[in-house]
Amino acid sequence: MFYRLSGVRHNSYASDSKMFNIPADRNATVFFLLLGLAAPFVIPSLYLNSYVLPWLIWTAAALGLNLVTGWAGQLHLGYAAVMAVGAYSAVHAAKFGVPWEFALLIGGLASSVIGSLFAFTALRVKGLYLALTTLAMQFVMDWVLTHSPAIAGGSHASLQAPTFALLGQKITSDAGLYYVAFGWCVLVTIFMLNLKRTGLGRALVAVREKDFAAAILGVNSFYYKVVAFAASAFIAGITGALLVATFYFLAAPEQFTVSVSIQVLAMVIIGGLGSIIGSYFGAALILLMPGVVNQIFGWLANMLGLELGIETFAHIPNAAYGALIIIFLMVEPLGLGKLYANIRDYLMIWPFDQLKK
């Protein structure tokens, strides 16, 4: 009913390989795109820049990690370290007087180089050992940031980012910064959507599923794993730089610690490995849910006239938030993206379910 398949007939391979080959999907996407463009006029700027903007940036980050973990199937626990490389390189470049466009590019390339150099050594091991090696990368990066004043200014120091500017225009308004984050998130999403329908995406899935079968089809699995690490690091680097440029405004080592890596991984896993819309859901859940749960509990306590101690009040929402993650994963281990896909597939031909094969 909501996603009519009837009347959708592709008569060329070009039309069958469209990004959204069901009109209802395309229309929904256009609607949300317009909503995204209109957001600064609809949403109060406080909410826009403290909730929507970070959500979009973290979604871009989650999509980047999804590329390496969801598509290529390589567990990566050092993602925040890669973001840090991009953030610090870009901020230093911008401070040096490089225009921000190029500073972002430098950040992305620096991340890409370090990320793939790292992959060259890390990919000699597989599975859990790879996870541990990437974790080691995270700790090395933490150490470098806190112990090299030339980069981060030493521990507990922070690095002020120069005012963000594109094409020579300084961007300081809330709406302007929001559009930058929105634009980047859309670009990353388009890349991921293209990945889904090209040989690169198929090769990565092949490497993830059965590397021996991939090999006999001519897929060099080591090469494609490095490609996945490099592409993911490029996205991570620019995302890290934008996070600092549009949200934190200064770079500090605490923004890129191991807990951040785990958080992004949680976004990807709860959203669904290999699911693009799942990364949006996952980032929203991990990022916004603590605040929402807090509000709900505050409101409930008020309603019921409960006298909750500060201590209890601080811990209950955390527990509820943890429980929520567990419940979601129990209902659908493949993540929120799969949950969405189930509903979508159900509605695809509803109410003519008997047509389902």
């Binding site: 391979y13 390989s17 329908r197 040989g199 599923e209 089809l217």
Partner: protein, 267 residues
């Protein structure tokens, strides 16, 4: 339908194994195997379980390079070449225990067979409309031809996880065929099939040879298939060649019969 005749010794054999031996520690899985597959030939490889048939294919495709001996493809020495490079040289294979990629559609699985003709990359993916789409569509056309040939039209958009095993074997054959190989290695393509499915598969193999000119190395336990479609057969037992030649003679060879069903030891 024109039948492609084996060319005989006029040109270099498609595949030549010379004294191939492969050991795993102290276990000699294959030893002293010589074989030559001529262009357009369907070459059967038979032998009881554990006789080294799959090890030999793994030696050819580079998964377990031989410890001794040479392997030549179209006259070129490929001994010890990595599997993904062997694929690029025109060898395609299917696996005994199916190696399709779950979570992908039948179409995407078969499209992966075109990988060696596509060379995908990041830039191509990012600039899809200009760099990837023409290539994707051209390769899709090749894939659709094979889908048509193997009668997989009705399931092309289904997830490969959910289709029956007979069709999975056919999808795997399609994936191997779209690579346009010179040499197709089929590892028990009819295992677990009923008579009708077996006949279909045999017909597909013959047609693939006739229409696409591939040479086939076929591992199979069904002797009716071996005698029905193979031009030449090699029988292995405990890693050693026990008989080779034309199928009718090989299956009558007393050593082959003994290897398969056990001889009368009193003789």
């Amino acid at each position: 339908m024109t039948k492609v005749k084996p060319t005989g010794g006029a040109e270099a054999p498609v595949l030549e194994c010379i004294g191939v031996e492969r050991r795993f520690g102290g276990l000699v899985a294959v030893t002293g195997v010589d074989l030559a597959i001529q262009r357009g030939e369907i070459f059967g490889l038979v032998g009881p379980n554990g006789s080294g048939k799959t090890t030999l294919t793994n030696a050819i495709t580079g998964f377990y390079p031989p410890n001794v001996g040479r392997i030549k493809l179209d006259g070129k020495d490929i001994t010890g070449t990595a599997p993904h490079k062997v694929a690029g040289m025109g060898v395609a294979r299917t696996f005994q225990n199916l190696a399709l990629f779950n979570g992908m559609s039948v179409l995407d699985n078969i499209l992966l067979g075109r990988h060696i003709h596509m060379n995908p990359g990041i830039v191509r993916t990012a600039l899809y409309w200009w760099l990837a789409r023409p290539q994707e569509i051209a390769n899709r056309e090749v894939v659709e031809e094979v889908i048509d040939f193997l009668q997989l039209e009705s399931i092309r958009h289904e997830l490969v996880d959910g289709i029956p095993i007979g069709l999975k074997k056919r999808v795997e054959l399609a994936r191997a065929l779209v690579a346009e190989p010179h040499l197709l290695i089929l590892d028990e393509p009819m295992a677990g099939m009923n008579q009708e499915e077996k006949e279909y598969m045999a017909r597909f193999i013959l047609d693939a040879r006739a229409e696409r000119g591939v040479s086939v190395l076929l591992i199979e336990h069904h002797m009716d298939v071996i005698t029905g479609i193979c031009d030449k057969v090699l029988a292995l037992n405990y890693g050693e060649m026990i008989a080779t030649g034309n199928p009718q003679d090989v299956i009558k060879d007393p050593r082959v019969i003994e290897a398969y069903i056990g001889g009368s030891h009193g003789e």
